[in-house]
Symmetry: C2
Subunit: 291 residues, 2 copies
Amino acid sequence: MSTDPVSRYRRFSRAVTSEVGALDHSFLGRGRPLGTARVLNAIGHGRCEVAAIRDYLRLDSGLLSRLLRSLEAEGLITTAPDPQDARARIATLTEAGAAEFRAYEEISDQRATEALARHPRPEALLAAMDLVASALGRDRITFDEVDPRSEAARYCLGEYYAELARRFDTGFDVSLSRDPEATDMIAPRGSFLLAMSDGLPIGCVGLKGQGGPLAEIKRLWIAPSARGLGLSRRLMSEIEARARALRITTLRLDTNSALPEAVALYRNSGWREIDRFNDDPYPDHFFEKNL
Amino acid sequence: MSTDPVSRYRRFSRAVTSEVGALDHSFLGRGRPLGTARVLNAIGHGRCEVAAIRDYLRLDSGLLSRLLRSLEAEGLITTAPDPQDARARIATLTEAGAAEFRAYEEISDQRATEALARHPRPEALLAAMDLVASALGRDRITFDEVDPRSEAARYCLGEYYAELARRFDTGFDVSLSRDPEATDMIAPRGSFLLAMSDGLPIGCVGLKGQGGPLAEIKRLWIAPSARGLGLSRRLMSEIEARARALRITTLRLDTNSALPEAVALYRNSGWREIDRFNDDPYPDHFFEKNL
DNA sequence: GTGATTACCTGACTTATGTCAGCCATCATG
DNA sequence: CATGATGGCTGACATAAGTCAGGTAATCAC
């Protein structure tokens, strides 16, 4: 029967194949072959170096060269030698090219909007899509150091606070907690890392320092769609590396027994439990680790 | 930022595009163009009539004709006029064609197995994939009348019982419940319907009759991945239509307040609550509906 | 500087894909 | 059995996509 894992995976594959095919087909509507349209889109999305485009679209050097030439003939792009390395070339959209790129973007947005509108439960569908996308794109997750006041960081923190509010019996009010000053989580005092998966922030962690050898780990959060991928462990080891680079020798953190995954993670990754070191109302577990 | 619904949909779309592309690419490994391979696969999956293949793959009549000819030349298929209508033609795999088809199947299975093995939480990934596939394939859901002892029906019933066991405080033991005789759920006494989505059973409902004008609705179940699509309502109206066709005039059912979605569904789709009509230990709500 | 390497381009192909008009055999209808 | 419709095939094209062997200019290693 078709309820075994492989059949289910293949059913998924069939379902999305027809979606993907339909999107490709609607791209044809602008009177340009698909390959050319894809190159235009790659450039629009900021892949300007010819080598980067070739790599991304897995195109033969000769073929890409011709596609670029045809876009150039249409007046949609211009190419110029890379000032760093005059052998390489950089493609940029012209005015007309940017307009054409926006038109393709519009098609994609339109299709997405329609697909979501057809579904009575878009939030559930999107949660499932996030999970699938995070799983399939697992190897391309990057860790970016950002300002904790940036939009993406604030998004993660908002999701984190909302989750604490759901999971703590008492709810969670960030103003009652010792909210770290943002500047304590920026180099050289500290750090703030985002886990990014193809543009979507799916996790974060903060390192709050005071300039001395002692610092605190704060705000470890993984998006529900990215749980089970071993991401928290990777985020923690990444932030520990940043701490070492900042000459921090001792890390502390506090957490709550309502977050058993977190407690378990710290217990089996080299942290030892210590006495309460602050009077924050929420935490009930305290850990320390020497680097 | 990229956390709005459209961006999330498009991120998903990008993620699966590269998966789909990779599968297509691996099909090329058998030294046959993709179009030809697709035709072979369509035939292998039971689409024998030339018109059906053309329709499914959205191919031009002339192009398909040529692809069929090239498969014929390779000795992978034979074509013969349809005995019903000698204008139409039927394609069938030869021995070699069947072997080649299996090789393509093997590639797909292999890729699915590898993708699942890469993931530390395949069950969660598959649940999300089921949800997405059911949502995208929503318009192609069919309702099939089957024997309740068939493999697909038994799968649904098993899932149904397991869910009851999880949701009832007391657990659920099917042997304590008045399990309908399978023959009571087969025409002409009753009926058993499966909701099928591209080969996967995603819901069921039974009509248990005794030959008279009174019958009972049993075993309404929707797979978690297909909830929120309005499927239970469609299954119910479908089974009511079958009941009418069997000259049944009054329907009854029992359910449990641990299944509030079900209770709500019955309340707002024409059922009225009645007194207990059996001594089954599990139900605590009883409904009736005149057809 | 010399020679090797790199990044891209061009020309000359091949193959794949798609389109269209016209053909023939068959079928439905009266 | 004449008529028109249908289903598939063929020939003649056109375009898209992919491959490969040079070629040129810039860069790198020494």
